[in-house]
């Protein structure tokens, strides 16, 4: 066999610090040490355990010192809402209202924790699965639907939202984020750019070139990799032999490996990275270790490649449940509040459905709009010829 499918999985273990410390062999240790955190190689930073226990962490705690139970509850609400929206979107797709939907089930903490760490003047360059990040940026429910319903190639105005239109070409956006961040430095502002991408994306030339440029120009950019273990049907072990967070230090970029199902740890890591960016200390790479619990998109059939046991193990690490447990324990999640959260989620889901079904096909001739900033003679001609063609039918057909 050309390569061993089995041996390669170990490098992508998601176990946290203590659990993994003693298990790596010395060679792994050497190669695996990452940037500013002289931790156990490959270990995953965590603040809230799956059981809902708050774990102290000297490095991360200061970055979320302001997140009291009230604020944690707000993050909880965010996560409940985006999960509800995601479920609604899947339903809309099944009902033929959307052409496609890439579910985020399981990745709520990674997206909410990072999205809520950003400032308004920061700028997001995402892939297609970051609808929860879009939610944190204030994208409307209707706008969220446009691309997937097929009425537009982009859902919102990037400049007013502070988030670029999703990049479907894997990895391309990491370079955009780097260039944007270079621009922030030139402008003398302390805004940062954040690039979201998947584990599969790390194999693309563009992502590695982005690391090169970001390091070379000390660009204030966060490389936020959601390692959800899958690139469609391909396990992360096929893409990389080492934990993804180990890649960046060799480029001169410090990295963090964080429990992507822990909203607090994600927020702490992102804030720390943003702080470096704002201080002029350059880029940071964050690997958020999480799991894609749904299909790749609504067109996918994961039963062909997913092991149900692995799936179940990840369900036990649910990002929402652990915060629920923590808040319940501290008495900050009353039945009343839980109900309020649920109804807000339902209301937004209903708003999304209304927005979606209300989106009509654009007018035929708009196919010619916005190719250039000003219409060219040639396109004006093509458009007018097509208008003449359409007019034939209006008059009763050919």
């Amino acid at each position: 066999m050309l390569r061993s499918e089995i041996s390669r999985t170990s490098a992508h273990d998601d176990r946290t610090d203590d659990a993994q410390a003693g298990e790596l062999d010395p060679a792994d240790r050497r190669a695996g040490v990452t940037g500013p955190h002289p931790r156990t190689p490959g270990a995953v930073l965590q603040l809230i355990t799956p059981d809902g226990a708050r774990r102290p962490d000297a490095d991360l705690d200061p970055w979320v010192a302001d997140v009291d139970d009230e604020r944690l509850a707000a993050l909880y609400e965010d996560m409940v809402v985006v999960r509800r929206l995601d479920i609604e979107a899947v339903a809309l797709q099944r009902q033929g209202q959307l052409g496609l939907w890439p579910p985020l089930l399981g990745q709520e903490a990674a997206q909410i924790g990072s999205g809520r760490a950003l400032r308004r003047d920061d700028f997001v360059f995402s892939s297609y699965r970051e609808s929860a990040v879009a939610y944190t940026r204030g994208v409307t429910m209707t706008d969220l639907m446009r691309v997937w319903r097929g009425t537009a190639q982009a859902g919102w105005d990037p400049r007013s939202i502070g988030m670029a239109t999703p990049s479907i070409v894997i990895g391309a956006q990491t370079l955009h984020a780097t260039g944007y961040a270079m621009g922030c430095v030139m402008d003398g502002v302390d805004s940062a750019a954040i690039a979201y991408f998947g584990d599969g994306a790390t194999s693309q030339g563009d992502v590695n070139e982005a690391l090169v440029f970001a390091a070379s120009f000390a660009a204030p950019v966060i490389f936020f990799c959601q390692n959800n273990q899958w690139a469609i049907s391909e396990p992360v072990g096929l893409q990389a032999m080492r934990p993804l967070a180990d890649r960046a230090p060799g480029f001169g970029i410090p990295s963090l490996r964080v429990d992507g199902n822990d909203v607090l740890a994600v927020m702490a890591a992102t804030r720390q990275a943003l702080d470096r960016a704002r201080r002029g200390a350059g880029p940071t790479f964050i690997e958020a270790v999480t799991y894609r619990r749904g299909p790749h998109t609504t067109s996918d059939d994961p039963s062909r490649y997913v092991d149900p046991a692995v799936q179940q193990a990840w369900e036990a690490k649910d990002p929402i449940l652990r915060v629920e447990r923590l808040l319940e324990r501290s008495g900050h999640l009353t039945e009343e509040r839980a109900t309020a959260v649920r109804s807000r989620a339902d209301a937004l889901a209903a708003e999304m459905r209304r927005g979606c079904t209300g989106l009509d096909a654009p007018p035929p001739l708009s196919v010619f709009d916005h190719v250039y900033t000003s219409p060219t003679t040639w396109l004006v001609r093509q458009r007018s010829q097509y208008a003449a063609y359409l007019a034939m039918f209006e008059g009763g057909g050919r």
């Binding site: 066999m1 319903r149 097929g150 479907i168 070409v169 693309q204 049907s233 654009p362 035929p364 040639w378």
Partner: protein, 335 residues
């Protein structure tokens, strides 16, 4: 002889190639356990193993670049690019390496690489999933570019492409993957070479050249035109580089009229080449300027607008009317 979908015909073609030649290896994203997002490689990894049917990391340039290395070593890589819009990261390896290595080495090194690309629109997809990039490759000397329109051709041409010692960009009309047709796997691949065009509907008044997904549309148009008493000859081009201009030429010499259709944008597309070449060859036989029915010169639009981008039966018939001097959409139109 059995009835198969176009996708299943391709699958059978790959299977035959794997059986036939131990040097054939398949590479691509999700082609293994998943069987490809269109299931064209379904079951092949199971039956031929992970060494001959390789899921690769997610990097198109590397897929092509390692295929070059495998070809150096004597292999015949058959590469899948998941969708048309994702071939561009591999563009450099394709145009600067794959296309040129045989020329560069004066024949010492062959590049028997087949690049399978599901292409074209009409499936209501999101951006980058509906493109027709064939002109980029047809313009690149050293590549063969072919496309199929029916299950039999899909099967036979794919086997011919894999057996060919030149690199072949093999465009698969994704919206026709589920079209069914008779497939004879025993058909001798050499009887009808993949670089020959085929007259699929004979006719006398107008030559209609189509390829890939639009061949079906062109046939439908020919059928519809019959009711109007117009006899259309439909040519399925099959090979886009080199072009079988002889077949088109001999048709146009009879009909005196040419319509070319493709989904790709018009500007510097294949239609221009066919129109220009045929004009060069049959100038004095032409009764009218060749007409092109193509995608517009805009990026591929969102799904809900694609019907206003893609050539369809009515737009083709309108162009047929135009070359026949009949009333058409441009009658009375002023620039």
């Amino acid at each position: 002889m059995s009835e198969r979908t176009l996708a299943a015909a391709l699958n059978a073609g790959l299977r035959r190639a794997l059986e036939h030649d131990p040097k054939v290896v398949l590479m691509g994203e999700d082609i293994g356990r998943l069987g490809g997002v269109f299931r064209v490689t379904d079951g092949l990894q199971r039956d031929f193993g992970t060494e001959r049917v390789m899921d690769t990391p997610l990097a198109e340039s590397a897929i092509l670049g390692t295929a070059v290395g495998l070809a150096y070593r004597g292999y015949r890589p058959v590469v899948e690019i998941q969708f048309d819009g994702f071939i561009y990261p591999a563009f450099d390896q394709i145009v600067a390496q794959v296309a040129k290595l045989h020329y560069r080495t004066q024949g010492a090194v062959t590049m028997p690489i087949t690049v399978r690309v599901p292409y074209g629109g009409g499936i209501g997809a999101v951006e980058h999933h509906s493109e027709s990039p064939e002109a980029y490759f047809a313009h690149t000397a050293g590549l063969r570019v072919v496309t199929c329109s029916n299950p039999q051709d899909a099967h036979t041409m794919l086997r011919q492409a894999i057996a060919c010692d030149d690199p072949v960009i093999f465009f698969e009309p994704k919206r026709r993957y589920w079209v069914k047709g008779e497939v004879d796997e025993t058909l001798d691949a050499s009887t009808f070479p993949m670089d020959r065009a085929r007259v699929v509907v004979p006719g006398d008044d107008v030559t209609l050249v189509a390829y890939g997904p639009l061949v079906t549309t062109a046939r439908d148009a020919a059928l519809a035109a019959q009711d109007d008493g117009i006899s259309i000859e439909v040519v399925d081009l099959r090979s886009l580089a080199p072009l079988d201009l002889e077949t088109v030429e001999s048709s146009v010499r009879r009909t005196g009229r040419l319509v070319v259709t493709h989904e790709a944008s018009q500007h510097a597309g294949l239609g221009a080449e066919i129109a220009a070449s045929i004009t060069e060859r049959c100038f004095h036989h032409l009764e009218a300027a060749p007409a092109r029915v193509t995608g517009f010169d805009v990026p591929y639009p969102p799904a809900k607008l694609e019907e206003h981008f893609l050539p369809d039966l009515d737009r083709i018939l309108d162009a047929v009317d135009r070359v026949l001097g009949r009333r058409n959409s441009l009658t009375g139109w002023k620039a």
